[in-house]
């Protein structure tokens, strides 16, 4: 039990830092939470239950995550907005050969430039975390959204 408690206290700050990076709009730093070879997906509860290969987006390298941020900053047209993550319960499920599998619930409030705030997304991350020389990094992060409906667009990472 003490082992898993220790693991919990090592993993939890990774999520705090991840949410803080996005909420404080330091988007350029976001890809650094991932390994070079990684899998990042945003999908829906419905698509996952039906084992559909296509969700909302999927990236299979850190380079693709960097592309997303470059696209957001230079190409995409959208109303200025930012997020506030509300983190839920962290479940550390298994550890095998240095790989930690976790689940973490989240809700995201979206704040528009006008000041309008709304509950934008809620869901669960199903993650695979590995120890690297630079600390804990995500090898896999699958954001499973509770709803299949997204208001307008998702441009800021989840």
């Amino acid at each position: 039990m003490s082992g898993s408690t220790e693991l919990f206290h090592r993993v939890r700050p990774l999520y705090d830092a991840y949410a803080d990076c996005i909420d404080e709009e330091r988007y350029q730093e976001w890809p650094d939470f991932f390994e070079d070879v990684c899998f990042y997906q945003i999908t829906t509860r419905e698509a996952r239950r039906k084992s559909l290969p296509i969700g909302i987006i999927q990236c299979n390298s850190k380079g693709m995550l960097i592309d997303r941020i470059n696209s957001m900053k230079k190409a995409n047209i959208f109303e200025p907005q930012r997020y506030r993550h509300l983190l839920g319960a962290l479940h550390v499920e298994t550890t095998e050969g240095g790989t930690i599998r976790t689940r973490m619930g989240f809700a995201i409030v979206r704040i528009m430039e006008s000041g309008d705030s709304m509950l934008f997304l809620s869901g669960v991350w199903h993650d695979e975390i590995v120890e690297t020389t630079e600390g804990l990094r995500f090898r896999e992060k699958i954001a499973v959204l509770d709803s299949s409906c997204v208001d307008t667009l998702i441009v800021v990472p989840v």
Binding site: I57, Q58, T152, L153, I154
Partner: protein, 85 residues
């Protein structure tokens, strides 16, 4: 998006990669959601009535903004001319 049951894994992977271009977070189509949202907000006061948006006015000429349907108007005006409508 759809695939065929006979698709190879490689073909399925290509379809999955292409799906990154479409949908609410699609690199190409996410702006479509913004436009729909703008239009919805603009016409919300007129529920049950008809709303006409004249994007970029009624003329066919170069405009400073991309938010214009001048090119669409130009196409149909030329089409009507050739079709003698």
């Amino acid at each position: 998006m759809f695939g065929y049951e006979s698709d190879t894994q490689e073909e399925t992977d290509i379809r999955v990669a292409l799906s990154n271009l479409v949908g609410p977070a699609g690199l190409v189509s996410m702006e479509d959601g913004v436009i729909g949202s703008f239009v919805q907000r603009a016409i919300v006061g007129n529920q049950g009535r008809e709303t006409v948006l004249e994007m970029g006015g009624r003329t066919v000429e170069s405009q400073e903004s991309r938010v214009s349907e001048a090119s669409v108007r130009g196409f149909w005006q030329t089409y009507r001319k050739y079709m003698q409508l």
